[in-house]
Amino acid sequence: MAHIQLKNISKSFGNHTALTGLDLDIADGEFFVLLGETGAGKTTTLRLIAGLEKPSEGQVFIDGVDVADWGAAERDVALVLQQYSLYPRYTVRENLEFPLKPKIRRLPDAEIKDRVDRAARTLRIEHLLDRKTDRLSGGEMQRVSIGRAIVRKPRVFLMDEPLSALDAKLREALRTELKNLQMQLGATFLFVTHDQIEAMSMGDKVGVLNHGRIIQTGTPHEIYNNPRDTYVASFVGSPPMNLIDGKLVNGRAVMAPLNFELPFSGGAKASAATEGRPLVFGIRPEDVYLESGAPVEARVHDVENHGVEKILTLRVGDTTLRATVPARTDVAIEQPVRFAWNPDKVVLFDKGSGVSLRHAG
């Protein structure tokens, strides 16, 4: 169990800068998810904590101790990767025993057996113990990799997209299992993913990483409802937040080139400073609703039926926006509809910088 801190970390590989001025604080026992697109620097961050890379600048602290001079072996972290994390040629049992047998912390044989059996029971892989790893399915392999991490009771678990290579059903099942496991162990987890659903459903805290910088850190609720900028707004959520250019005029949102108006209730925040200034209005699809007397007319461009709900793409002029509506809503493509939004849920972003006015203020 440990508290992880990254202070002002930069890392470059030759001319390529992977991370710039990264600060990260992961509390003891926290499930922290690092979310970002491919190439955002997630894996590099993980490798820096594991001790597989050295930062070009900045410091890594584990429980308040600067670990710059510690090798990977001494940091006592466990790593679960998307693939290749099991040793070929070894059986499942040998794989699970391997982390318990290095010279620096070799355990007595009875203890090794006990821990391996306990981990196997936790992950329900007891029947696989004597199997060679090349005869496992993808899900079984990932279970064994997780087992290899938990046998050791490390100070922190580092997981690099461990579920990405699995099919959807299995991914969902393991997501729940992993979250339960973390709560049961009370361990510190750093989980790296590009999948925002994983981030939202598993994380106690989520850090959104883009181009080697942390854009926003917060609970999934904060990230979702109060994105720091338009990048986070459009990256998190499926479908993403609608972003529409406009201005505030006399307390109403006026969409500029589109020419429609919607009520705005941001009251206190919509001060004189924001009046008339170019803005981006962000609204989640579930906060857009259809109503016969609503202020704006649109045409239905596309309908996606998701069972419990439908996701409509509405067309106004040559811009589209998404609305999540109950499944029973009966609409046809090209049908004219009227819509409005929930004015309390609107997030304002500065047009130039893309930063949310709530965060800027």
Partner: protein, 319 residues
């Protein structure tokens, strides 16, 4: 899937089988030639057309291992009757086995040359593959300054025919006293094979995901332990393939062995044809020497055949 085959597929299969047979025969014919000649009596070895059906004889091997000398007169009947069977076959050829003062049979030069070949080839193979594996691992896993240039430099040692440097090498070896020594030949063969070994092993090392070792590092193992416990077993296929190539090169090397060695450290390749010179060439004995000389490579390759088949594909089958 049920095997449903069209007639054209069956036809293609037949052609493929015939092609494989033809190629195999072409490659096996010289080996058959050597093997059959090794068991022929001397007078049948050079007949035209070649003798295919004959009574196999062991006499060429007896002559190969025993030190012999020409007899002016054929052996007397008493002498012949008293001699063991292996001495009689030598008498039949008009020769006798040389004995020392105590009547002890003298060995020919062949066994010691054969042993020299084994010592030099095995040692140089172990050295070249061992050093090559470590070097390749270094190039594959660490950032080495000027890596491309260094690798090119290593390869460049193979860019001219080795014989070009034979004379200067000979002079240098004579100056430092490495002439006709095992160490001298081992150094030479190791140097020849090292560049090849580095390049081949680099390819195999690159194929091994570095995640394996990193997992071991995180699990508390040192880089060295990770190398021996994880990387080396994974590289076994590549090491086997490289070792076979290095062994064959060292085993078959002729030119340098001829120039650099004369007696003490001489290997089999320059020795076998040197036997042509005494009296009329006895092709059966030469074939017997060559036949035995083929065996170690054949056995070595056979033992490693599973590794080799995978190794030859240069990782193409590995996932």
């Amino acid at each position: 899937m049920a095997a449903v085959r069209t007639s054209s597929e069956i036809g293609f299969n037949r052609i493929a089988i015939v092609a494989v047979l033809v190629v195999t025969i072409i490659f096996l014919a010289p080996i058959y030639w050597i093997a059959s000649t090794a068991f022929k009596p001397r007078n049948l070895a050079t007949t035209i057309p070649p003798t295919v059906v004959f009574q196999p004889e062991i006499s060429p091997f007896v002559k190969l291992f025993a030190k012999r000398s020409q007899m002016r007169n054929p052996a007397s009947p008493e002498e012949y009757a008293a001699a063991p069977w292996w001495e009689r076959v030598v008498f039949d050829g008009g020769e006798k086995i040389v004995r020392d003062g105590k009547g002890q049979v003298q060995w020919s030069g062949y066994p010691s040359r054969f042993l020299n070949s084994l010592i030099v080839a095995i040692t140089s193979t172990v050295l070249a593959v061992g050093m090559g594996t470590f070097t390749a691992y270094g190039f594959s896993r660490f950032k080495v300054k000027g890596e491309a240039d260094l690798l090119f430099f290593i390869l460049s040692t193979r860019m001219l025919p080795p014989v070009v440097v034979a004379i200067p090498m000979f002079l240098m070896y004579r100056a430092v006293g490495l002439n006709d020594t095992h160490v001298g030949l081992i150094i030479l063969y190791t140097a020849f094979n090292l560049s090849f070994s580095v390049w081949l092993m680099k390819g195999f090392m690159d194929e091994i995901p570095k995640e394996y070792e990193e997992a071991a590092l995180v699990d508390g193992y040192t880089r060295m332990e990770a190398f021996f416990r994880i990387v080396l077993p994974e590289a076994a296929t590549g090491i086997a393939a490289t070792a076979v190539f290095c062994f064959i090169t060292a085993w078959n090397e002729y030119a340098f062995a001829l120039i650099m060695t004369s007696r003490r450290a001489q290997t089999a390749p320059p020795f076998i044809p040197s036997q042509v010179g005494s009296g009329l060439p006895d092709w059966s004995v030469i074939a017997a020497g060559t036949f035995l000389f083929l065996l170690p490579v054949a056995i070595f390759t056979f033992l490693l055949r599973n590794h080799l088949l995978r190794g030859m594909s240069f990782g193409a089958i590995r996932k």
